[in-house]
């Protein structure tokens, strides 16, 4: 961006376009650009490289989760129960496979629960990931009640002494009240069977999603509480800039990013690299 440009209006327009194209969103982009214009006018920022450096630092700061704001970590619970949620096709099932692999490499024993009892071949898909990551696996033996699977999964996790249980859920649009009610019930059943569960609720967001991701995060968080975000498909051309707004306004940390379809294509979120990619 503007490698040899001069600090003028057309450069600021170009910068605005970079942010908008990265799905940063209109409101946030407008605020950022207006603040920059004011700083430039006040001679606080005098050159293009200074502006770029400044805005990168600002965005990094915004998207870096304030550790002080974080809830006391329940990451040391045994067993640790993780609930994975998100809209259709975001990458939940695949992310669980990757997460399972990561945990197994760290010596944890893992149980994957096929909580998507609705979609065609959903349980088969997760079962493949359980096999690939050498994790234990449970699916519904009959019927289509995800709460029943989750109930059995919690029981099995405790009886077999697993360290972690990760529950997959069916994709659902946040605007569907009955599906959000189903999710609340899944959480209730979990916490009734094991107080404190789910210790982590991961919202999986597709990085190609536009501003709708903000209402996804808001509504999923209001319904059952989200403890972290996984941003998938960052190996594509989308920048996922919408998470800047989400971290800023909802105080939800981005824990991981998905960078491919293979079992080890999951990385911890790195604010510096994330922001740098926006300006590539």
């Amino acid at each position: 961006v503007g490698a040899h440009a001069k600090l003028d209006d057309s450069f600021m327009d170009e910068l605005e376009e970079v942010l908008l194209s990265a799905d940063v969103g209109l409101d946030l982009t407008t605020r950022i650009i207006e603040n920059l214009r004011a700083d430039v006018k006040a001679n606080l920022l005098k050159t293009v490289p200074e502006v770029i450096e400044f805005i990168k630092k600002e965005l990094e700061k915004t998207v870096t989760f304030d550790e002080e704001e974080k809830q006391p970590s329940t990451k040391n619970s045994k067993p640790l129960v993780v609930l994975v949620i998100g809209v259709n096709g975001a990458g939940k099932t695949t992310t669980i496979g990757k997460l399972s692999f990561k945990l197994k490499k760290r010596g944890k024993s893992v149980l994957l629960a096929a909580g998507d009892t609705f979609r065609a071949a959903a349980a088969d898909q997760l079962e493949t990931w359980a096999e690939r990551s050498e994790a234990d696996f449970i699916r519904s033996n009959s019927g289509s009640d995800p709460s029943a699977v989750v109930f059995d999964a919690v029981k099995l996790t405790v009886s077999r002494g697993h360290d972690v249980m990760i529950a997959d859920t069916a994709g659902r649009l946040h605007s569907k009240v009955n599906l959000m009610e189903e999710l609340k019930k899944i959480k209730r059943i979990m916490s009734r069977e094991l107080p404190g569960a789910p210790h982590e609720t991961l919202l999986v967001l597709d990085s190609t999603t536009g501003q709708n991701a903000v209402s996804q995060a808001k509504i999923f968080n209001e319904s059952i509480g989200v403890t972290g975000i996984v941003l998938t498909k960052l190996d594509g051309t989308a920048k996922g800039g919408v998470v800047i707004n989400i971290v800023d306004t909802l105080k939800l940390p981005v824990q991981f990013i998905g960078i491919g379809e293979k079992i080890d294509d999951l990385r911890p979120f790195n604010p510096k690299e994330f922001v740098a990619a926006i300006f590539e």
């Binding site: 194209s21 990265a22 259709n88 096709g89 979609r119 190609t208 989308a238 379809e261």
Partner: protein, 292 residues
């Protein structure tokens, strides 16, 4: 809708006899906000506004019609036109068999949409046959098979140790054997920047010679919609676009972005997870959603 957003603009334009550069620019600022909030790509927004502006400028105001309302009407009607004007159908004309190739990014809804299309065609009296050429995603083939059972449409048995080209050839064979007149080919989701996967898709297309190449896109896609649609169009081509997950609270600006950069007609929309939740694309309905 845009009219509410325009209230301030409408007030300022009251009693004018002509739409001028200044008052039209005023109105265009509101349109820009509406379109960007709806996820329409910034470059597409610029083109759309420039076009509407030139249509509006110099237009005489109509007696009894607020100039602001007149601009709203121009914006709305122009948006409907850019989105395609009217509904667009599948190209199934002519005797003999048709091959439909489904393409798109990961998770956009291809497999589910393949089944939706097959169910629709069966209802319309065709003899559809489905096949999955997705040998990568775990249980992708099973997924299409289960859907096929649900809608009572035959699905060719394929396995993950076949490659897509062999599957293409076998499918054409099977189509003749079973006397099916429409073959729907599901493919693996892929990134437009994945050379190897795009080459594979291109080779599959050469073997199938499809009459329809349907680009299945997630309606909640943001600014990136132009990049992926353009790349798929340039490298593979597309004869139709299907927007999925329109049953949400999605404004659907991706529709305008995709249509603008590819010129490809948007033919259908997915409005739910069930195979019956599938509709024709109506530009006028979507225009209203995008403008908010």
């Amino acid at each position: 809708g845009l009219s509410q957003r325009f209230e301030g603009v409408v007030k300022r334009l009251q009693g004018l006899h002509k739409l001028t550069e200044e008052n039209v620019s005023d109105a265009m600022r509101e349109v820009r906000i509406a379109l960007l909030e709806a996820d329409v790509n910034i470059s597409v927004v610029k083109d759309f506004i420039a076009n509407v502006k030139s249509l509006a400028l110099g237009m005489e105001t109509i007696p009894g019609v607020q100039p602001g309302q007149q601009i709203v009407k121009i914006v709305h009607e122009n948006l409907i036109q850019v989105l395609g004007g009217d509904t667009a159908n599948l190209n199934l004309t002519g005797r003999g068999s048709t091959v439909i190739l489904m393409t798109g990014l990961q998770g956009s809804g291809k497999t589910t949409t393949t089944a939706k299309l097959a169910a629709m065609l069966k209802k319309q009296g065709y003899r559809p046959l489905m096949v999955s050429a997705d040998v990568y995603r775990p249980a992708a083939i099973e997924q299409l098979g289960v859907l096929g059972e649900q809608i009572d449409v035959p699905t060719i048995k394929t396995t993950t140790d076949m490659n897509p080209e062999e599957i293409g050839r076998a499918a054409l064979e099977e189509m003749t054997q079973l006397n099916a007149n429409v073959l729907l080919v599901d493919t693996a989701g892929r990134l437009a920047i994945d050379e190897q996967m795009m080459n594979e898709l291109s080779k599959l297309k050469d073997i199938l010679q499809p009459k329809e190449i349907l680009f299945v896109a997630d309606s909640m896609t943001g600014q990136d919609a132009v990049n992926t649609a353009r790349a798929f169009n340039e490298q593979i081509g597309m004869t139709g676009v299907i927007l999925t997950k329109m049953d949400g609270d999605i404004r659907g600006g991706a529709a305008l972005s995709i249509k603008k950069v590819t010129g490809t007609p948007i033919k259908f929309i997915g409005v739910g997870e069930k195979t019956s939740q599938f509709e024709q694309f109506h530009p006028d309905r979507i225009a209203g959603r995008i403008l908010g």
